[in-house]
Each structure stands twice: as structure tokens, then as C-alpha cells.
């Protein structure tokens, strides 16, 4: 590593990306260090386990062993690549430092060394990622819920912008996205802001692709907007917030993911129908042929947790009911997972629990006046806000940075955990 890695790396990156007009700035709160020894030990032990399993699999096949070996294969190959790079670096270093070496060769070695080091960085990151256990819901589709924070119409308008942003992102990347709920604020009617935003009270976007949860889970949290609202007459900049939750959803018809079964009481998604109170509009007076009601609203309450889902988007009550079940199941599954995580973090030391992201944390700011979008966790700024809000490639960058940060945090947790284990 060079003495001032952060300068050189960002310069190098800037040079590599010179063809792009985007300006991306990383602040320095995410300095990655070289591989922690405890992680390396863990990787080595897992890789040994993998080799042993492979050996026994060669002699006799066993489905569970094969599955485990498949999981560990990622670690083993990442470790092997890292070790090769590491050894070639040591070789090159010894070549450059050898005083008897031919100066021409030494300069070639020096050039090569730089390349190898850059490669090592990438491999290190990959090794770390392979070590972090995959999220339990990582393979599932997901639901993204949007709710305006306190602050009136402006927050609601921006909720709509965010909703459209993620919808456009899904359209661009070719995900199957389905609008489950898109509800306007009761007090706003069919008003819309000058840029065509609707005053959204609550919106739910379902992304039906497998693994969508893993892609979107970094987006959960408070998204903040700073701009001059269309309702503002004196030209002052307002700040409002929108809450975005990402919930795991279960695949339709149980295709693919074999670990999710809605009717299995062990599953996170299991909801006992007896715990759910379903309310329709109360019948006032006569019904049946006597009247022609178009009201199809439905409200479901999960009594043990007090979770309430109401749905009235669709003209068919049956459809509203199915959608409400979907959302209810997802919310409950996510609550259960959160509870488990909380319990697990209580068992860890207090240092560890600080890394947890809580629901109230502000994660991102969209600043219209400065044409800027900042991810506060990854410490990343991008410009070209219109492209971000259209779900363009600039948004990809921000989401990628957020995900990297999330994985980085998980690696950190893993390191601390390993160290705690080693102390015992």
C-alpha cells in the first residue's frame, strides 16, 4: 500500500473514469484497511472444510454435504485467488528490493506491482463479501413501502417522486414491478404539484424478481429532500423526509425458493388466519340487488402485533383482500426478522450494536438546489439529480455504494465477532 492511499486511489479512479462526466466524491469515513487476521483465519478454516468436503464427496455423494460445499466454494475460490495475488506481490517486492537485480527488470517489476496491488484490493473485498453470511431473505422478492414523514404536502409530493424513481429504476433494469398500493392523502384530492407529483399518503411497490430483497435492502431508511416546494411563495428551501421500508415478500406459487412456505407455521411468513381480523365496509341498510356499491375497501388487523393493513386501490374486494394479505405477511415477516436481529445484537457487545441501522436514521439526501444526491452512510455525493430521480444510472451508483457500505458493515461485525470468539 502506498503511504497516502486515499489520495492515490481517488486520483486513479478519477483518471480511469475520465470519459464520464459524472463527478463522484467519496468522503473519507469509509477507509478500508487490509484484511483482519481473524477474518483470514476464518477464511482459511472454511476453505479447509471445503477441501475436506470435496474429498469425501469425490468418494461418496451426499446431498447435504454437497450443499454445504457449494456454499463454501465461494470462500475457497476467493481465498485461493487472494493468496495467489498475495504471493505474487511478495515475489515482486523481493525483486524490486533486491539490490543485485537488473535495473530494467526492477522497473518492470515495479510497474507490475502496482497493478497487482490494485487487483489485491478487489480480491480482498470479494473475499470479505464471501465471508459474510447471506441475508436470510436475500433470495426473496421484496416490497418497497413509501410513507411521507411529518411535514405536510411537500413530503407527500416527494414521496411520489421517490416512488416514481424506484418504479423507473425497475422498468430500466427490467424487473417485474407491481404497484400494490398507491393512496392519495385524504385531504388533498386530485391536486398535484407543478411538476405533476401526487400527494401520496402511502404507496407499496412489489418487485417480484428473486433476489430483489438483496438489491433493495440498502435503500431502507429515511430519505431527506431539500428544495423549494411548489407550495412555497417566498422561495425558501424546505427540508422534509420520506420513510422507505423494504420488506421481504414471498414468491408467487413458491417457485424457486424452497425455504418459503406461507402455510408452514415455522416460516416467517406464516400468519394464522385466526389472528387476523378482517373488516369490510359496514353494511348500512339494504345490500345485494338493492344497491350498487363500488366501495371495495378492506382493513386487516393482525391482533397479536397490532399490525394494520388497509387496501382500497382495486375495484375488486377480493383483489384488495389478496393484496392486503401479501402486505400483512411481509410486514410480519420483517418484524420477526428484526426482532431476531435485535435479540442477536443484545447478545453481542455494545460496540457491535452501534453498527445497526435503526429505522429513524437519515440515509440519503436529495438536494435540488445543489443538484446533488448524498448517501450519508457510504459518504457518497453524486450530481445530476434529474438522472437519479429518473431511476437512471446515477442512481445505480448510489445504490451500489450503499450496498457496499452495508456489506462493509457486516464484515466489520463479523471481524468483531470473530475477535470476541478468539478472546474466549
Amino acid at each position: 500500500m502506498s503511504a497516502v492511499p486515499w489520495i492515490c486511489r481517488s486520483c486513479a479512479r478519477a483518471l480511469r473514469r475520465s470519459h464520464q462526466l459524472q463527478i463522484v466524491r467519496f468522503s473519507s469515513n469509509d477507509a478500508s484497511s487490509s484484511l483482519a487476521p481473524s477474518l483470514l483465519r476464518r477464511a482459511q478454516s472454511l476453505s479447509e472444510e471445503h477441501d475436506d468436503l470435496q474429498k469425501s464427496l469425490n468418494s461418496s455423494f451426499d446431498a447435504t454435504k454437497a450443499k454445504r460445499a457449494g456454499e463454501l466454494g465461494r470462500v475457497a475460490s476467493a481465498l485461493r485467488a487472494w493468496e495467489t495475488a498475495q504471493s505474487s506481490i511478495t515475489e515482486l517486492v523481493s525483486m524490486t528490493e533486491d539490490p543485485d537485480q537488473d535495473p530494467d527488470l526492477a522497473s518492470i517489476a515495479k510497474d507490475e506491482l502496482e497493478g497487482e496491488r490494485a487487483k489485491l484490493d478487489v480480491l480482498e473485498k470479494r473475499l470479505k463479501e464471501s465471508l459474510t453470511p447471506r441475508h436470510a431473505f436475500a433470495d426473496l422478492p421484496c416490497m418497497v413501502e413509501f410513507r411521507p414523514g411529518p411535514g405536510g404536502l411537500e413530503g407527500r409530493y416527494f414521496t411520489d417522486t421517490l416512488f416514481k424513481m424506484y418504479k423507473a429504476l425497475c422498468a430500466r433494469r427490467g424487473y417485474r414491478a407491481n404497484v400494490l398500493k398507491y393512496e392519495m392523502a385524504e385531504a388533498a384530492g386530485d391536486q398535484s404539484s407543478s411538476s405533476g407529483e401526487q400527494p401520496v399518503q402511502e404507496a407499496v411497490l412489489e418487485i417480484q424478481d428473486q433476489g430483489a430483497y438483496d438489491i433493495f435492502r440498502g435503500e431502507a431508511g429515511m430519505h431527506r429532500v431539500q428544495r423549494i416546494p411548489s407550495t412555497e411563495s417566498k422561495g425558501r428551501v424546505h427540508t422534509s423526509a420520506v420513510a422507505v421500508w423494504v420488506l421481504p415478500s414471498f414468491p408467487e406459487g413458491g417457485s424457486g425458493a424452497d425455504n418459503v412456505d406461507v402455510d408452514d407455521p415455522e416460516s416467517d411468513f406464516y400468519v394464522n388466519p385466526q389472528d387476523v381480523k378482517i373488516e369490510t365496509m359496514r353494511a348500512r341498510g339494504a345490500g345485494g340487488q338493492h344497491v350498487n356499491k363500488t366501495e371495495s375497501a378492506i382493513r386487516m388487523t393482525h391482533i397479536p402485533t397490532g399490525t394494520v393493513v388497509s387496501m382500497q386501490d382495486h375495484r375488486s374486494q377480493q383483489r384488495n383482500r389478496e393484496d392486503a394479505w401479501k402486505v400483512l405477511r411481509s410486514r410480519i415477516a420483517s418484524q420477526r426478522a428484526e426482532q431476531r436481529e435485535e435479540e442477536a445484537s443484545k447478545l453481542r457487545s455494545s460496540v457491535l450494536s452501534q453498527a445497526q441501522i435503526t429505522r429513524g436514521d437519515k440515509i440519503r439526501t436529495y438536494n435540488y438546489n445543489q443538484d446533488r444526491c448524498t448517501d450519508h452512510r457510504a459518504g457518497m455525493d453524486v450530481h445530476n439529480l434529474p438522472d437519479v430521480l429518473e431511476g437512471g444510472e446515477t442512481l445505480d451508483k448510489v445504490m451500489e455504494a450503499a450496498r457496499e457500505w452495508l456489506v462493509g458493515k457486516e464484515v466489520e461485525m463479523l471481524v468483531l465477532e470473530e475477535e470476541a470468539k478468539a478472546k474466549k
Binding site: 345485494g288 344497491v291 350498487n292 356499491k293 382495486h314 377480493q318
Partner: protein
């Protein structure tokens, strides 16, 4: 029906004139806003030019009571998209609820109607848009190897609409294509003619369903707040009140005349299960008391279903109904679900 307070109109027109125009028909803000959204989606997806004008014209039309389903041309019914046209009754959500519930009971086998995975015959009288037979067909086609579903209606408009609906939903992929041993038919027949029985006899009918005209002449002509203005003005009276020319058997009321005929048809077709939609509690009591004197009633079991038969009842809805016979004796009939009394469920040969 209570008057819409002026403040609600003011509140609605502050938002938009269109929502205020919808208010007389929708009666509350939330459903006016929902209908506005559906109308807007409809206009955006169909019209090419002068959308704003069309939208406000449709809102005014709807606000005067013209049914939303006739404007949009359809009503979702379970997984289906049922086309609606003036002259044919619009499917109601209660109908959807009990059809679903009955199909569920058949699927889980708790009715012993139709041997599991073998054959099932369903007949629906007064089918209208064909919503009931279509929904049965779509919900049960996977469960039964041999499935025969038939809808019967007297109106040529209804028959041609329900046939359109079959084609329309098959095109959309909501209904499976018919094949040998799996049929869905609509017949144009007057159920008061004995020809209808001849047509249907000789085949096995496990389930008989009907949502016949059941509104009384008193309610139709004098209302008394019991009938929606939009229904009375825009929906066909043929589907709502029994005709004047139908001869009424002794002891039966005019509005119940279809049930008398349907029970006689049931006696000939020998279904295992009968489900009849009724207007209110009084009508259910009358029909059940007549039924218990019918020759069908031996070895039968009667239940009354509320609007939402699959939901848990509120505490004032749990008690059974007490039915007084002509001879003064009384009988208790259990109720199921939540809401108003909506249908009579009869199991024969238990």
C-alpha cells in the same frame, strides 16, 4: 337516505369540480376519490384526445347516478374481468363473496358435492352477466377432471353478454379453454317453462345456484330508502323484480315467486347443494318456512349466510335465526359470517 351536508360539497369542490360532481352518487369523499381515480385511469387508457372534457363529462354522468360499471364497461369479479352493459344487472360484491365461499367448500371436499377430483355439475339460474358460472369454472377447473357448468337466463341481452364474457376472459387468459369433459355453457331459457327442466334433466347436477329477481313491488315503487336511486333508474327491472305475468302459487308472496319455482326445479334436478341469494332477513325467513313444507325438505340441512360468509361474525350476528312455521311451531337456523343476511344454503340428502 341522509342528505349530504353542504360542508362536504365545499370540501370536495375545493379539491376539484370533478370530485364534487361525483359526490351525490358516492356520498363520501373517500369513495368519490377512488371512483375519480378509476375514471381517470379509464379515460387515460381509452381516450386519445380531449381527455379533460371527457373526464368531467363522465364524472357528471356518474354523479347523476349512472352506474360506474356501465361507464367503465366492466366489473372485476374474483380473478375475472366481467363486462357490463346497460340492460344486464351488474355483479355485486356479495355475490362474489358467497360464490367464492361455496367454491372453497367444494374444493376442500367438506360438502361431498362431487367426488374429489372426478366430476362436478353446476347450474346457475338467472345468470345475468354470467359472473357466477364463470367464477365457478375458473375456481374449480383444476380440481375436477369432469366439470360441467351451465348458466341459464331468459334475457337475450344477458345471454349474449355472458357468452361475450366467456370469450373475453378466455382471451385474457383468466379462464381455461374448454375441452372434452370440461364445458361452460349459457342457455337462453325461461325457467317457468318446463322445457328448461327437460333440457337439463338426465345429467347430474351437484350444485344449483341462483340470484333471482327478489325485490318486492312495494320497495320498487315506493322505495322507502331501501333501493338505490342508481339501481332503480339504470339497472334492468327484469333482473330485479319478478314480472307481473307470473302466476303466484298459494301461500307465496309475489317477490318470492322465483324461489317457489326454483325449489320445484331442484326437486327434478336433485342437486346435492342449493344456494339462493335473498334480499333480506324477512325474505330468508319466509323462504325457509315455505321450504320446510316442501317435499325436498326431508333429510335436508339449512343454513343462512351473511354478506361475507368467510369473515368472523360480530357479537350481534352470532345468534341463530328463529323461523316460525305456519302451524305455529318454530325452528332454529344457524347463520354464518358477517353482515346482512344474504343467502340460503341448503344441503339435500344429508
Amino acid at each position: 337516505m341522509s342528505r349530504i351536508p353542504p360542508w362536504l360539497f365545499r370540501k370536495a369542490s375545493r379539491r376539484s369540480a370533478n370530485i364534487a360532481a361525483l359526490l351525490p352518487a358516492c356520498r363520501d369523499l373517500q369513495s368519490a376519490m377512488n371512483e375519480f381515480r378509476w375514471l381517470k385511469e379509464h379515460v387515460n387508457s381509452t381516450a386519445s384526445a380531449s381527455k379533460e372534457n371527457l373526464l368531467s363529462r363522465l364524472c357528471r354522468k356518474r354523479g347523476q347516478g349512472y352506474p360506474l360499471q356501465y361507464i367503465l364497461g366492466s366489473q372485476p369479479f374474483g380473478p375475472l374481468d366481467v363486462k357490463c352493459r346497460p340492460g344486464v344487472l351488474i355483479p355485486r360484491p356479495e355475490t362474489e363473496a358467497y360464490t367464492y365461499h361455496l367454491a372453497d367448500l367444494i374444493k376442500t371436499g367438506s360438502l361431498r358435492a362431487g367426488e374429489p377430483d372426478q366430476r362436478l355439475g353446476v347450474v346457475d339460474f338467472c345468470t345475468g352477466t354470467g359472473c357466477i358460472p364463470l367464477l365457478f369454472y375458473s375456481l374449480l377447473h383444476q380440481k375436477f377432471e369432469h366439470l360441467e357448468v351451465v348458466g341459464v337466463d331468459i334475457s337475450s341481452q344477458a345471454v349474449s353478454l355472458s357468452r361475450d364474457n366467456i370469450v373475453h376472459n378466455m382471451e385474457l387468459g383468466y379462464l381455461p379453454q374448454p375441452r372434452r369433459n370440461r364445458t361452460l355453457d349459457i342457455l337462453q331459457q325461461d325457467i317457468f317453462q318446463d322445457k328448461v327442466i327437460e333440457k337439463l334433466q338426465g345429467r347430474t347436477w351437484d350444485v344449483m345456484v341462483s340470484n333471482p329477481p327478489y325485490i318486492s313491488r312495494r320497495v320498487w315503487y315506493h322505495g322507502g330508502g331501501q333501493i338505490g336511486h342508481s339501481v332503480r333508474k339504470y339497472e334492468p327491472s327484469l333482473a330485479l323484480i319478478p314480472g307481473n305475468d307470473i302466476s303466484i302459487p298459494a301461500n307465496w308472496d309475489h317477490e318470492d315467486v322465483f324461489y317457489s319455482r326454483l325449489l320445484n326445479i331442484a326437486y327434478n334436478l336433485k342437486p346435492k347443494v342449493i344456494l339462493l341469494e335473498v334480499g333480506d332477513e324477512m325474505q330468508a325467513l319466509r323462504v325457509i318456512s315455505r321450504f320446510s313444507q316442501h317435499k325436498l325438505a326431508t333429510n335436508s340441512h339449512v343454513e343462512v349466510w351473511r354478506d361475507w360468509p368467510d369473515l368472523a361474525p360480530n357479537h350481534d350476528e352470532e345468534s341463530p335465526l328463529k323461523i316460525t312455521m305456519d302451524d305455529g311451531s318454530s325452528q332454529l337456523v344457524s347463520t354464518k359470517g358477517s353482515g346482512n343476511i344474504r343467502s340460503i344454503f341448503i344441503k339435500l340428502d344429508v
